[in-house]
């Protein structure tokens, strides 16, 4: 197995064009497990850790694909609260030190923790090859179980996100209180200025996916200009629509019926917390619900 270590992005793209079978590796928290278990034996590994621009984030926001979860939590928590919440649920501290959002996107596991947040907050994935750069909306990025929209010569370079314009929440069910793979997960982003809501489910369908009917329902049911306490009926209907957006399976981690049930509960609760934050802000309070 060749271990290729480009110093620049241009060099990496050239290598990837010549050797599309080379598997990119950043933190290695997915790739190394596959190698150790002999589930995958690529002809070459393409080490991305030396490329400076992948390790940086810029205001705006453009987050390099190689920025580890721990930096998202520490440096971007205020601007990207939803992504930071999801990042906190990833593995152990050691995994969060190594693992990256770029890796999450590359693996494209339906259970990847950051996907619902990226979907709910309209992230755009910047991918590049020697042929040029493409900007792929998250909603078009996930094609199937562990399949994404990358061409064989392309690399994930960055994730583009707007700093949160309203409350964001992320919630995940697992049968352990830390270091657990998602049984199912849910993310919500409120865009009060645009009278809009983003909502997406994880680990509850062949791909992470948005819940468009739930988003539309909420956009019409909520009065962002003049927010009032939420009606239980709104929360319930929203939960039902989120649950309906999922098409989960029965597997070793949980039953399809439980996933549908849990998504509805998480949708109701996260909406409640997000709305509470909005109300608090309108009332001049700086207090935010803990998360």
């Amino acid at each position: 197995m060749d271990f290729l270590r480009p110093e620049t992005l241009a060099e990496a793209l050239e290598i990837k064009a010549e050797r599309p079978d080379a598997v990119p590796i950043a933190g290695g928290t997915d790739v190394m497990v596959e190698l150790n278990y002999d589930h995958r034996r690529p002809a070459a590994l393409l080490d991305l850790t030396r490329i400076p621009e992948l390790q940086q984030w810029e205001d705006g926001l453009r987050v390099g694909a190689g920025v580890p979860y721990v930096r998202i939590i520490d440096e971007l928590g205020a601007q990207l609260p939803g992504l930071a919440m999801a990042s906190r649920t990833v593995g152990s501290p050691q995994i969060r030190n190594r693992g990256t959002v770029g890796g999450n996107l590359g693996a494209a596991s339906p259970a990847g923790d950051t996907h619902p947040v990226l979907l709910a907050s309209d992230a755009v994935i910047e991918v590049a090859s020697v042929r040029g750069t493409r900007m792929i909306p998250a909603a078009e990025f996930y094609l199937g179980v562990k399949r994404n929209a990358l061409e064989p010569d392309e690399l994930i370079v960055a994730v583009h996100l707007t700093p949160a314009k309203g409350p964001q929440q992320f919630s995940k069910v697992g049968t352990r209180n830390a270091m657990v793979i998602a049984v199912c997960s849910f993310a919500i982003s409120l865009f009060p200025q645009e009278n809009r809501v983003g909502a997406a489910v994880g680990s509850a369908a062949p791909t992470p996916r948005r819940a468009p009917e739930a988003e539309e329902f909420l956009a019409s049911a909520l009065d962002f200009k003049n927010p009032k306490p939420l009606l239980d009926s709104v929360k319930r209907e929203f939960g039902e629509l989120v649950s309906r957006a999922a098409s989960p399976i029965d597997d070793v981690r949980g039953s399809a019926a439980y996933r549908k049930h849990a998504l509805a509960v998480m949708a109701r609760r996260t909406l409640g917390w997000a709305w509470q934050e909005l109300l608090a802000k309108k009332n001049g309070s700086e207090e935010r619900p803990c998360a």
Binding site: M85, S171, V173, T175, R176, A178, V183, R269, C290
Partner: protein, 728 residues
């Protein structure tokens, strides 16, 4: 001058009753301790194991031709290459070293490859062609006995009946239940590993992580067709055991490859292979009927229990005997009917795991006691105290409990502990933890109690002993001691205990623990909570011999005092095969738990807020190690209560990884308040009572009782899953 232990305890530090540092502690904390997976030898090659993908199949052919052609391959071995007896087992010799004609569980070893690199071995292994005629597996423990026979004698491994008192008595209040216990794994962190080094005379040295060097040696020698003295074992660094290393894994395989190739052979399982490479805790189905009078006094207990031994017997007979003889719990019951069955199926083989049969029964009888309390309108603690065993009580086997049995006291101790503060606002302390599933919504807090009983040491007439050697000589002008046994240190701290005993007995502060190996006699198994009791007893006895020769001297010049002795606990008896009567056990240990649990009743997620414990340990030789055992045993019980299960389907394991086999983290296991009682057992060295297993038994039912109280659900199966709590 006569040196007495009392004087010496005060003369040197680090004796019994104190908590000196472990000799291996710093290395382990720094990550510098050499575990068996770190073994290395010049010129060594690597072994790999081809395993069956089917739970039950006839092998119609094995073709190793292409595997042998892979460059770097030294040997490919099958059952034909086993020179001795191709059957082994702890109690019944029923398990092949390498499969012949049939495979009876998924993961059963069929062939071995030795190659110059682990990758080469893996590549070659995949070129071995095995053809199978796949057969319908037997997977239901309740019907297995009447199903396709998997072994020549049929599928019943052992039936233990107990008949005590009246068999047809009736009672005013009757509660019945059917309970299930899922298959728990020991989940030790250091996977199976060993290094076999062949010698020029045809003998072999094996460096191995195990729980019992001598029984490994005897089984290896029989399989290799060698005299026992030509198989030498040395304990390597063991990363946890919990029963899972009592059976052989790759011991014979590595030696076979080493003797065949003339090269040192290393084998290391990865995490997935480890799940196939060792036995698990028996899953169980248990039917119970409890009858009581209106005051809550138990009139009778009747139970029928099934324990799934999987494809091979392992220690199933002893597990079944424990479940049966301890099957009513730490309670006085005059009329008892027990029928416990251990069976063969095509599920993964099951054997020893911390608690050993008492865990399965404990979940069921404690669930029944709660049910009885509810039927009587009594509190769970009151109904237990009403029936609590004491010293002098009679077991269902007729055995009189002849040392402390402070069951009521333990319950009252945990009941009287202060309750934790109200529900937290920190998500890490709420159900779901860092996953941010609740900020308090749906959370209901309730309390549950349980108490358990465990036999300590080996039972049913087994000649249970240990051998210890203590050597004293002058080093740099002062007395120095070395202690040598074959008793395995698996992480529990026996190395420290042995040093402490020598310090106390001889007044010598500097004590070296020699490597554990088979150049000395049997140390017995590191299981059944027995090593401090039995090997501790042997070290104490060897010290007494040394002390006589020392005769009070503090300078012995060039003399070396070197004494070896065997020590055994008092004998036990076989139980009657029809009535189950007999003095089966040496000693009984007791622990009680109070669990305080927050349940998110909407999501079915659980956070154990407090898991306080009281346990009698007779005498705490090392108080810190005692508390560590109670914490660890309680955590393992918590795992069984709410998350740990090897899930099988049609005999196949569905979750052989730590991604999907979950064990508790620090956010799942609360800090514990622990009361340690020291009610000396006059029959045991220093009065000690085995510590490691009792807390594993009561922890699980206490937690489930609290979840039941929070949800109002019956919850008759562990581990409790979110689906059970949400009806999905």
């Amino acid at each position: 001058m006569t040196l007495t232990p009392a004087e010496l305890t005060s003369a040197v530090s680090g004796g019994i009753g104190t908590s000196p540092q472990r000799p291996d502690g710093n290395l382990k904390v720094r990550g510098e301790f050499a575990y068996a997976s770190d073994l290395w030898h010049e010129d060594m090659i690597w072994g790999a194991t081809l395993r069956s993908p089917h739970p039950y199949a006839r092998i119609t052919s094995v073709d190793i031709t292409e595997a042998l052609k892979v460059p770097g391959v030294y040997a490919v071995l099958t059952a034909d290459d086993v020179p001795g007896r191709n059957l082994y087992g702890l109690e019944h010799k029923d398990q092949p070293v390498l499969a012949v004609d049939v495979v009876r569980y998924q993961g059963e070893p069929i062939a071995l490859v030795g190659a110059d690199h682990p990758e080469t071995a893996l590549r070659a292994m995949k070129k071995i062609v095995v053809t199978y005629e796949v057969l319908e597996p037997v997977v239901d423990m309740e019907t297995a006995v009447d199903d396709t026979p998997l072994h020549p004698g049929g599928n019943l491994v052992r039936h233990v009946p107990i008949r005590r008192g009246s068999q047809d008595v009736t009672a005013e209040v009757v509660v019945t239940g059917r309970y299930e216990v899922g298959m728990q794994d020991q989940a030790f962190l250091g996977p199976e590993s060993g290094l076999a080094v062949p010698a020029s005379d045809g003998s072999v040295d094996l460096y191995i992580a195990t729980q019992w060097l001598h029984v490994d040696r005897d089984q290896i020698a029989a399989a290799l067709g060698l005299p026992q003295e030509q198989v030498r074992l040395t304990l390597s660094g063991v990363g946890g055991a919990f029963g899972g290393r009592e059976d052989l894994s790759m011991q014979v395989h590595a030696c076979l490859l080493a003797l065949h190739t003339g090269k040192p052979v290393k084998m290391v399982y990865n995490r997935e292979e480890s799940f196939y490479g060792h036995v698990h805790r028996h899953p169980a189905v248990l039917y119970y009927e409890h009858g009581a009078d209106h005051t809550g006094k138990l009139v009778y207990v009747r139970t029928r229990m099934y324990l799934d031994g999987g494809a091979y017997a392992s220690s199933t007979p002893a597990v079944v005997a424990n479940a049966a003889t301890l099957g009513v719990g730490p309670y006085e019951v005059d009329n008892v009917t027990v029928d416990a069955y251990g069976v063969y199926t095509n599920n993964p083989p099951c054997g020893a795991m911390r608690g050993f049969g008492a865990v399965q029964a404990g979940f069921a009888y404690e669930s029944q006691m709660d049910k009885l309390a509810e039927a009587l309108g009594m509190s769970p603690v009151d109904v237990r105290v009403r029936n609590a065993m004491t010293e002098g009580s009679v077991m269902p086997t007729g055995q009189v409990v002849d040392s402390a049995a402070p069951v009521a006291q333990l319950l009252k101790l945990v009941q009287d502990k202060p309750l934790p503060a109200g529900t937290s606002s920190d998500i890490r302390e709420l159900p779901g933890g860092v996953s941010n599933t609740t900020h308090g919504e749906g959370v209901v807090r309730r309390v549950g109690y349980a108490v358990g009983i465990k036999n300590i040491c080996f039972s049913e007439g087994y000649d249970d002993y240990s051998t210890a050697r203590v050597r004293v000589s002058m080093v740099n002008g002062s007395l120095s001691a070395a202690v040598h046994t074959a008793a395995c240190e698996v992480g529990q701290g026996l190395v420290t205990i042995m040093q402490q005993i020598v310090r106390t007995e001889l007044g010598i502060e500097r004590v070296t623990v020699l490597p554990m190996d088979t150049t000395i006699g049997n140390g017995g198994s590191t299981s059944a909570s027995r090593q401090t009791y039995v090997t501790g007893g042997a070290v104490k006895a060897a010290c007494a011999l040394v002390r006589d020769k020392l005769a009070g001297r503090t300078d012995i010049g060039d003399e070396v005092i070197d004494e070896t002795t065997e020590w055994r606990h008092r004998a036990t008896e076989a139980i009657d095969p029809v009535t189950g009567q007999g003095n089966a056990h040496v000693q009984y240990g007791f622990a009680a738990h109070r669990a305080v649990v927050d349940v998110d009743v909407d999501l079915g997620l659980v956070r154990v807020v407090a898991l306080d414990c009281a346990q009698d340990v007779g005498k705490a030789l090392n108080p810190q190690a005692v508390v560590g055992q109670i914490q660890g045993g309680s955590a393992q019980g918590l795992g069984l209560a709410v998350m740990e299960e090897i899930q099988t389907s049609g005999g196949k394991v569905r979750n052989p990884s730590f991604t999907d086999y979950l064990i508790p983290t620090v956010l799942d296991m609360p800090p514990m308040s622990i009361d340690v009682l020291e009610l000396a057992d006059p029959h045991a060295p220093y009065g000690i009572r085995g510590v490691g297993e009792p807390p594993t038994i009561s922890s699980t039912p206490a937690i489930v009782a609290a979840i039941r109280a929070a949800t109002g659900l019956a919850l008759t199966r562990v581990p409790v899953r979110p689906e059970h709590l949400t009806g999905t």
